[in-house]
């Protein structure tokens, strides 16, 4: 009743009438050519490339919550292609190239910022490992530079060079690496996919598969059943749960990764820095917050929140690397659900069930992969063949022994 005297309110709010919704918040239809489960970066990018490159527009992206609510909306925004293994480098480099042209492609500014990614090393063995990596990158035509201690000091004079437990020896720098405004990636892909006719359906949780004659022909959702010619999964941390609905068991565990942001500050850290003697990496957002993170909490979790020991571990690493951040304050911490694969590398492949396609296993590094993952998954969905750069991401590589283990940790997902 009282509300009536205040309902005048709405009339004043007409200043920006001409703006349209960035994407259509669609109602689900009865059937599509392709359904993509998961309105994260990868799902939305897949829809964009399906429509743009393969001309397949009768597509729905089904998101159980709001788009971007998963890891694409909670990552530390680092993009780079400084990988080691031949199965990975071309893929991540394709992604890097797509980032470089993203804004023009989407007509949406996702603030791709090639401010440089520096990986520090603190021992001869680590240096040799980075040299091996840098040279592998150069063989693939990817930029990489080796910095000695003096060069690192020049770039980042405030790092602890003089009282460090593990002195900095140098670093591997990829200048083309950097950061991208994470949420805008989801919104930008949603915008262009939607404009090309893709239905973006929020608050639509997939709860089961419709299987006929051993073939997946649709999904059961919180908003009814929807049929589809093909169904692609891009649900990151929920991969095992969704796969289980189709009776599949994956080489994946879900773990929580935390991230942190400080209070806003005037420009302090120009690029991205990764500590080599502890779990800590950092960059500064355009809003001024220091965005940083470290290792996963290390146990299976679907809680989307972590625990205190990892916060301490990360801050210890931070203080060891840059003791000037001691008085700066941590503003917020959060967690995301990582689909940790058994060798630390992703899977983009058909599944043993016809009609069902898998995009998973991104661990904590799948944000940078978003464009290439979308493109490769679209390629797979459209052509039933693996994209040139994603051929190594097979599901059967564990059975055949062709793992892509960048860290050499073996089948222990919490160590990747």
């Amino acid at each position: 009743m009282r509300n009536s005297i205040f309902s005048l309110a709405l009339n004043a709010l007409s200043g920006h009438k001409h703006w349209q919704p960035t994407w259509r918040d669609a109602e689900p239809r009865a059937a599509y050519d392709v359904i993509i489960i998961g309105g994260g970066g990868h799902g939305l990018a897949t829809a964009h490339y399906l429509a743009k490159i393969y001309g397949i527009t009768n597509v729905a992206v089904l998101e159980k919550s709001w788009i971007g609510s998963g890891n694409v909306g909670r990552n530390t925004t680092i993009v780079r292609s400084n990988y080691l293994l031949p199965g990975n480098i071309p893929f991540y480099e394709l992604s890097m190239k797509l980032w470089e042209g993203l804004e023009q492609d989407l007509n949406y500014n996702a603030m791709v910022s090639q401010r440089g990614v520096l990986n520090l090393f603190h021992s001869d063995g680590q240096r040799d490992g980075y040299v091996r990596r840098g040279n592998a990158m150069r063989l693939h035509g990817v930029d990489a530079e080796l910095l000695d201690q003096a060069a690192v000091r020049k770039l980042y004079p405030f790092l602890d060079f003089d009282h460090a437990r593990f002195p900095i020896q140098g670093g591997l720098l990829q200048k083309r690496g950097g950061t991208v405004r994470h949420d805008a990636v989801a919104w930008g892909y949603a915008k262009t996919a939607s404009a090309r006719g893709v239905d973006i359906v929020q608050n639509c949780e997939v709860r089961g598969f419709i299987v006929e004659d051993g073939q997946v022909v649709g999904v059961e959702t919180s908003r009814g059943s929807i049929r589809a010619g093909k169904v692609g999964m891009a649900v990151a941390g929920a991969s095992s749960q969704v796969a289980a609905m189709a009776g599949l068991k994956l080489p994946i565990e879900s773990h929580v990764l935390q991230a942190f942001v400080s209070e806003g500050l005037k420009p302090l850290i120009p690029g991205v820095i990764t500590f080599g003697a502890g779990h800590f990496y950092i960059s500064q957002s355009d809003k001024g917050g220091l965005v940083f993170g470290g290792d996963i909490d290390g146990y299976n979790s679907y809680a989307q929140r972590g625990n205190l020991p990892v916060v301490e571990d990360v801050c210890e690493g931070g203080m060891a690397l840059m003791p000037m951040i001691g008085r700066l304050r941590l503003l917020r911490s959060w967690g995301g659900l990582m689909d940790m694969s058994m060798d630390g590398s992703p899977i983009i492949d058909r599944t043993p069930i016809s009609g069902l396609y898998l995009n998973a296993g991104w661990c904590y590094g799948g944000f940078k992969a978003t464009p290439a993952s979308g493109l490769s998954f679209a390629h797979l969905l459209a052509t039933d063949t693996a994209h040139e750069t994603a051929k190594a991401y097979r599901l059967d590589r564990f059975a055949t022994g062709h793992m892509l283990d960048e860290k050499g940790q073996g089948a222990q997902p919490n160590l990747h």
């Binding site: 709010l13 949406y108 592998a136 420009p267 809680a303 301490e312 060891a320 001691g326 008085r327």
Partner: protein, 988 residues
Amino acid sequence: MSGRRLASGGLINRAAPVRFAFDGRDFAGFAGDTVASALLANGVGLVGRSFKYHRPRGVFSAGPEEPNALVELRNGTRREPNTKATTAELFAGLVARSQNRWPSLAFDVLAINQLASPIFVAGFYYKTFMWPAVLWEKLYEPLIRRAAGLGKASVETDPDSYEKATAFCDVLVIGSGPAGLMAALTAGRAGARVIVAEEDFPLGGRLLAETYEIDGMPGAAWTAGVEAELRALPNVRIMRRTVVFGVYDGGTYGALERVSDHLAVPPPHQPRQRLWKLVAKRTVLAAGAIERPVVFGGNDRPGVMLASAVRSYANRFGVAAGERIAVFTTGDDGWRTAGDLLAQGVTVAAVIDPRTEVAPAVRALAGGAEVYLGAMVRDAHGAHGLRRIDVVRADGSSVSIAADVLAVSGGWNPTASLATHHGARTEWSDTKLAFLPGKTPPGLAVAGAAAGNFTTAEALADGVRLGNEAAVALGFTATSIAAIRTSDESFAVAPLFHVAAARTKAFVDLQNDVTVKDIALAEREGFRSVEHLKRYTTLGMATDQGKTSNVNGLAIMAELTGRSIPETGSTRSRPPHVPVAIGAFAGLHKGLDFKPTRLPASHGWAVARGAVFVETGQWLRAQWYPQPGETDWLTSVTREVKAVRGGAGICDVSTLGKIALEGPDVGAFLDRVYANMFSTLPVGRARYGLMLREDGIVMDDGTTARLADERFVMSTTTINAGKVMQHLEFCHQVLWPELDLDMVSVTEQWAQFAVAGPSSRQLLQTLFGPGVDLSDAAVPYMAARELQLDSIPARLFRLSFSGELAYEIAVPARFGAALAGALVTAGAGLGVVPYGTEALGVMRVEKGHVAGNELNGTSTAGDLGLGRMLSSKKDFIGRTMAARPGLVDPARPALVGLRPVDRAQRLRAGAHFLARDAKAEAANDAGYMTSVVFSPELGHWIGLGLLANGPQRHGEIIRAYDALRGEDIAVEVVPPVHVDPEGVRLRG
């Protein structure tokens, strides 16, 4: 004192004046003041500039919810940007500066941003700055970055120290308002171990800021009585200046104690802050509530304040926030501000309430002041400080009222965020007009205003009830507490979140400059989920995390979308509840204390000999021992290697992992964990062993010796010692508990030295004396002996990593340093040298032994030329998986040796291999160099590497391509063993 300090009253110590500086001007306040109260007392209304539009801002609140009054506190290396003036305690000599303004607070050039505000709407970044792409990093982004952010950080090392501590209790009480005090008292009287954590410096919560009475006493006096009783209880611990910032699993709460922040510098041996982990069986969350403002035009003007804050300043700090104070309230509570001000003799310009009817007792609080019922404040005016407000009545007519402060109250938001840290959302109550805690974390109950029970009487009753409940749940007997008399409080409030008729810019989030229009725009663009709204507009993302803005923002979104508030929902709150210094989370683990340092027993001895040290995991090991005149490491290392190969050298190898295994089934166990056979190892012998992971990849290597029938000692690499121990215990406890054996690490027990070189036997003979037979027959290659050295138990192994005649000798660690000395003495005539890890590495590469660079977690036994070690006679960890096609592919890169064709050239580890004429591109990548050393024996650089089809390519010339260093040199593929391939020397 001049300015706005009231003649009497407040909890400040008027006998203790405190001088401080703000923006270079000197001021005085009193002990017990915050920076904000002292500034207000001095009539300073303008304290900062806003984030985006650089609008002038003043103190808005009196607590941690402050969005505006952020200052840079202290100077130099202690500079603390974004410090809330409303919680910073005043101390003598305090220095503060305003932020985000240039050149001065009063005249800020970037305030022209306001003129461009029609374009700077929410999300404007996303729609522009795209062409040309190259300009983003060069031009647009630097501009945006410079304009954004608030305070400036020091780039120097924080000079203060931090500590971490853990405390346990039965009942943790968070907050010490009436609810918290009673919870602590009841649980404490019942005998429970209680911790009371209070963020503020005194106990009491709102009682310090209000004038109502409890048991006939002013709130502060009553608080003092309860505090005295709590202090007398040995089982109660009161932690002031301690904010609980996070609720973690297992009853663990993160808390920050500001030990020395109220002092100019920490006292000797005291940290600046202490990070607490409070482990509680039960918790009572009594964190109170934060007042909610109403959004109207110009509501960010300095002088527009929360009504409760105006009361806090008057009652707790003895400060009148203004000279003519108007009150705009949607509920009864705001009227109390008028009443308290009038009682202190401050002019109340008007009381404006949108409700048309107000209870007579409430109405009476306004005394003779002008009252506008059924009316709202539409706009506030005044550049650097409030001058007047426009009030609009229900009939649309308006009136302008002069005022320098407007006290605003739109209801209260319970401080329940801690209760949501496990993920449960809060639930909207239409009766309380507030989000109340929903499902709480295990063991946590919410009391008082934090639960939406806003009156003092309810808070007290909640505290008693929940304090007792917690105690009883833990087996204590409830205590009864006589009813406590309180003044009457009425809590009626009407829903009004923003004034739609506003004509000027109306701010929802004061710190991030999010306006009502921004929310409307977000809605139009489809960002209707509150979480989208937040991310698109940055509503609630500033240092205050939206404590005074979130609810208004979502209420406006609810109106725009025609949904109810519960349908619209609230955003997720996350730890920390208030921002916490990063240094506090690290405690003392920074600089050299980042990780503990492990030192072998001979460390001091090595220091005395001038060794250079290297970190190996947590160990510090001697890397080489420079001699006078040696200026580069290569000279020293080359000398050491030559001395070893020419005579004798000693090297501390104590850091290698050592595991004692005892029991009848050790042999059987080792057969299962090693790829090769161990049950057949005779007593008194050692064998090299290779351990795989279950996925078939090499995990670690080392030698294991059988000292007695049922007694073995295993060695591991330094880096993998812990990992191997864990693996073996898994295999034993989980996979094969039926095997009868025990194991324990003895790494620390034994100091062990390699004694290597052709004269090593002679050296040891001198050491042991003629009574011990060290002949080849008595101690052959791979022998393991337990013997006595000076009646000290010692172990002697005839092992060689260097390829020379060599031994390892171990003694109990207390004798380690002495043994190092004794070895050097014994070898004096033999040219013995101590050698470090570099020389060790040189000799192992010369001998083609694999180490960390080759055992990199992706190599198989076959890759390392050790394929024959995989026994086919037994099962062992990794056997089945090692047979997968991908792991036995003959084209896999495998171990080879490398030499530069031009012997003068240096090799580089990490270089990749290319066929001689191949183009430098990925398709031709044939492997990489794993280890390189300068071989004194051969007089040139040599390397080990993993090369595709390597073993078939001995003699081939290929290229080592190191694009990073701009090198591309021809190398010859050779067998991995560069020196003494027949192994003549080691059999000595």
